[in-house]
Amino acid sequence: MTWNRKDLLGLEELSKEEIESILSTAESFKEVSSRDIKKVPALRGKTVVNLFYEPSTRTRVSFEVAAKRLSADVINIATETSSVRKGETLIDTGRNIEALKADIIVMRHNFSGAALMLARHLNISVVNAGDGWHEHPTQALLDIFTLKEKLGRIEGLKVSIVGDIAHSRVARSNAWGLTKLGAKVTVCAPKMLIPPGMEDFGVSVTHDIEKALKDADAVNVLRMQFERDGETAFPRQLEYFKEFGITQNRLKRAKKGIIVMHPGPINRGIEMSSQVADGENSVILEQVTNGIAVRMAVLFLVDKTRDGRE
């Protein structure tokens, strides 16, 4: 077992072995959720605080379920960042939570780097539940876990990530994680949604969905958000679906048995058709189930490191 971090901030900083440690720990936790009594005492007496500066239902609920199945006490704090200028600083908020003798903060924040900053200032564990456009490590880990479960391996797989790469922390974390484990990653989006220097992640870049699907073992489809601040020229929704949407027709030309993933929530008819979302290639709901196991593993591992140090 290779794990001695008190925090999980991103996949960029993790080694292949560390990622594998999380995945194998998740495997053993997965079974807990299928029991009649879905609970183990691994974090009994521990307090997990979900500190969410951005609206999120599914990630927050997934972390809450994961913590509760480990028997931890869970506190949810949802807060708005718009008033942050006049309010308490993030570090002060973190220190207050630490003073409450919480053990783990799970944080979602709209600023990139916020989780790292918090972790640097606190002794308790910080788990990044998404920071700005930077990383969303547990999402990528559950994507990878699901792929591995379905296809038996990661090394040598061809995985395409389709959608708004520029503004996506899910894309970045997946790119880091998959390439470290030896997958061949292609990102696919309109030019304006590919950020500069993307090739330096060790991934291929294409603007052609047919190319992205050809030979791919799996496609991870990102949620498109068209309501952004107008600084980037976005394609129109219908145009996007026509050019990049995942349809049954397109899948027919792809490799048989191609896995279709989506971090949710899905915009049906924009990123993918309903038939694909509900079709036999889709593993979208299994991702949700696996998210619990992966997050249980992460909470368990970071807590164990800290316990070991104390």
């Binding site: 960029e12 600023f111 790292l116 700005g132 456009w133 220097g197 330096d200």
Partner: protein, 427 residues
């Protein structure tokens, strides 16, 4: 008279204004340099400079003293103390204060404050437009009479070509130096870090090279049309160096400066989200950093200035995107230049002294940057072999937002002499 005399003995004196680079003595009488010659005798007050470098005091043409308005970050007293600590005896105070230095009234207030508390020579740069908004001209016509020697909307770039042209025309008429912060905000809106792998990796909005050099191209075009002088602040990209180089070759009256962080650091330093590496323009790629060095050695870049931009801890030790732009530099610039330019043989001593003292003096039209007889006794004595580690607690600036904290640098200022007054540092 005797008690007002000071002999700086046996140092290697580097004075490009007088083509001097030799071991010699300097006699100071009162506030002036009385004699430069070997084996001067008959003075009781002696600084033994043997094995040391003796250079004209640094002239830093890009300093944010923050007074009036943000005295929590810095004020004239602390800023000029920091200057002296770094070997800087003259500086140009940038006008992005609160209020901005945009009227004869505010210049008057600033002059009084300088009179009261400055320890080094402080020269004033006025704003180009009111409140630096790029819309209405500041009271430039009154500035010259009040001793203002330059104008700039530093921190902001002037989008309107018409207003920029007017500024260049007025600067030409009044013989003051127009200094341009070149940045086209429309190209990289709300960027916080160099655009490229670094910005993508960090998930932060990028600032492209284009946003800098496109605006430099435009301002050079305007200056060329008017046959006016133009000074470009904080050059940070390869393309900017190229654009300025080409303009100089065809005879445009353009000069430029860079700051120590652009020839010593690159954008990989930002990967820790440490806002002490957040400045505007941002730290660029390694290729750009090397191009800036090349621009210094080829002579395209005329000046090294610190862009000393003090900020409080509360404004820096926060989420990167919310943190203020800018780093301090007065107390490290000379050592950073020695460590990165002299040691890497990018510049020789004479060239360094030109860029950090003589050239800015000439561009600003002030009688500084020289050790000539009869000139002001503004002198810096450096122990150029001494290594030291940059520590926040040792700064005289009110702020500690340096990009070089913890760095080991070479070359330590041992004495700063400003108008004949001696400041001795450390031991």
């Amino acid at each position: 008279m005797e008690e007002n005399r000071l002999l700086i003995k046996g140092g290697r004196v580097i004075d490009p204004a007088n083509n001097l680079d030799e071991v010699t003595d300097i006699l100071v009488e009162g506030a002036l340099i009385a004699k430069v010659s070997k084996n001067i005798r008959g003075c009781d007050k002696i600084i033994d400079a043997s094995g040391k470098l003796v250079i004209p005091g640094l002239v830093d043409m890009h300093v944010h003293l923050r007074e009036p308005g943000r005295e929590d970050k810095e004020d004239i007293l602390s800023g000029t103390n920091a200057a002296l600590h770094g070997g800087v005896t003259s500086l140009l105070a940038m006008p992005n204060t609160s209020p901005a230095i945009d009227s004869s009234f505010v210049v008057g207030i600033l002059k009084d404050a300088i009179e009261r508390s400055a320890r080094a020579n402080v020269f004033i740069c006025g704003a180009i437009t009111k409140a630096r908004e790029g819309k209405e001209m500041a009271e430039i016509d009154k500035f010259k009479g009040q001793g203002v020697i330059a104008i700039s909307d530093d921190g902001s770039s002037i989008d309107s070509e018409e207003i920029m042209s007017d500024a260049l025309r007025l600067a030409k008429k009044y013989k003051i130096l127009p200094i341009c912060h070149c940045e086209d905000n429309k190209i990289s809106p709300r960027g916080v870090v160099n655009a490229g792998f670094t910005s993508t990796r960090l998930g932060l909005r990028g600032i492209t090279n284009e946003s800098e050099y496109k605006r430099i191209e435009r301002d050079i075009k305007l200056a060329e049309k008017l046959d006016a002088a133009l000074h470009i602040a904080h050059v940070s990209t390869k393309e900017s160096v190229d654009v300025i180089s080409r303009a100089k070759k065809r005879g445009v009256r353009v000069s430029c400066e860079t700051a120590p962080h652009y020839f010593s650091l690159d954008d990989s330093f930002v990967l820790s989200y440490d806002a002490n590496f957040k400045m505007n323009p941002p730290l660029r790629s390694k290729e750009d950093m090397l191009a800036v060095r090349e621009g210094l050695s080829s002579g395209v870049i005329d000046v090294i200035a610190s862009d000393h931009a003090p900020h409080t801890e509360n404004e820096k030790d926060i989420e990167f995107e919310r943190a203020e732009f800018g780093v301090t530099g007065l107390e490290t610039e000379l050592s950073v230049a020695i460590t990165h330019l002299i040691n890497n043989k990018i510049l020789g001593w004479t060239e360094l002294v030109r860029k950090i003292s003589l050239n800015p003096s000439r561009l600003l039209g002030i009688d500084k940057g020289t050790l000539g007889v009869g000139k002001d006794a503004d002198i810096t004595v450096i122990d150029f072999n001494k290594e030291w580690v940059v520590k926040k607690e040792e700064f005289l600036s009110k702020s500690g937002n340096s990009a070089f904290l913890g760095n080991k640098l070479q070359g330590l200022v041992e004495y700063t002499i400003c108008a004949g007054k001696v400041y001795k540092w450390n031991s």
